[in-house]
Symmetry: none
Subunit: 244 residues, 2 copies
């Protein structure tokens, strides 16, 4: 995960332990571990949190509890308030992408505030933030729950780190043109032998069409070899196999 | 959400109705409405889905059920398999951002496959896709559930909403998946007749390889037709032509 700045995830007056657990899981999926709880309704620790965290116990164990939002963000330089609602506050409203870019560029600690499940953040809590961060959502169906809001912002943040490197093996490079040329020639030869090109006047156009079809494929050397084997098999005699 | 291309969300063998409901909610938050269910474990409709959808009933009501993945994606030209796992398949692996950009630029229908809650997608299901889409995730805690995977991909897709849809290029659109399927089946049949698949223990892997090779091509309907003609010519008897 490296040492790049990691925002604190501040849950303000969260109600259900289950949702705190789900938020922890969402965080750890993208490498966030600094959870802060402001006045959790049912106290802390909460026995419902663990089972919902699906193994993100580390986040729950390290979670710190504060009485007020001010206390929770005392060490943070830049604070974002996650809310989808329009507010009467005159504040910058950022897309998650822009927020993530700011956080990663910031030399000082940042925090993201998330409101209670039903009521969200109070106006005076939003006012503590430097900016609002809003996930643009279907205006006819805005139903983002706490863990979903957390995971989307954590995901945007994670894009700036080492996680963003695709974990899978690099795709095989496309075969050099000479290999495709070999494939095309083989195919032409076999089709010629079968009397495929007819009438002669249209043969050049047909060959161009085939060439276009077989060179636009992006096949790797390995794949070109496999296709050449397929052509050989198609034109060859049927084989009954069974010997070692 | 406008008329830009919307990917179908294909849930393959989903187990809990609750998770189908959560996926529907995740979809509608970002304006996606085309849900397809392949062999849902507990049948369909499922009484557990509605309550978890939190009002996204429209998505559930419109959901269509299919017996096989092939049936579910028959009308789709480009198919993405959502999986975090390493596979023995040599396929492009895309970041959600790249996938979203491709979907929005595609003039033809696309689909995203999601596997069952525990087991994920089978290798031969992944092989049906044109590319894998992977959310880069904390390697030490990879615990993305179905609805979370859906919401992250839906979110990336939704980002393109305010952008102008690029003008469709004059290029022929990629053939729908059912046509590629026809080509693959024809090829398999002919190769089978030639005794190409040997030994039997490796046949499934060989078939997956061939499927991957022939579905990554981006061939149009016209080109698929031409390739099928080529296969027929290769396996047929040599013809001497000369008559008008």
């Amino acid at each position: 995960m490296g040492a790049r700045p990691q925002p604190a995830i501040v849950l303000v007056r969260p109600q259900l332990g289950q949702n705190i657990g789900k938020a922890a899981r969402a965080m750890l999926n993208f490498g966030l571990t600094d959870m802060r709880l402001v006045a959790p309704r049912d106290g802390w620790p909460n026995p419902d949190a663990g089972p919902s965290a699906s193994g993100a116990d580390l986040v729950l164990e390290r979670a710190r509890v504060f009485d007020t939002v001010q206390d929770a963000i005392a060490d943070c330089s830049t604070v974002y308030a996650s809310t989808v609602r329009r507010r009467d506050l005159v504040m910058p409203v950022l897309h998650p992408e822009a927020m993530a870019a700011e956080i990663v560029a910031s030399p000082a600690p940042c925090a993201i505030l998330f409101g209670a499940e039903r009521s969200g953040l109070e106006t005076d809590e939003v006012a503590l933030a430097n900016a609002i961060v809003t996930v643009p959502i279907n205006p006819e169906f805005a139903s983002l729950n706490l863990a979903q809001a957390v995971i989307l912002l954590a995901y945007e943040w994670s894009k700036h780190g080492s996680l963003a490197v695709p974990p899978e093996k690099a795709l095989e490079p496309a075969a050099p043109h000479s290999e495709l040329e070999g494939l095309v020639k083989q195919l032409e030869g076999e089709l010629e032998a079968k009397g495929y090109f007819h009438p002669p006047s249209r043969t050049p156009a047909t060959k161009n069409t085939l060439r276009t079809i077989f060179t636009k494929t992006g096949w790797s050397s390995r794949e070109v070899k496999a296709v050449r084997g397929v052509i050989r098999a198609l034109v060859g005699p049927a084989r009954t196999r069974g010997k070692p």
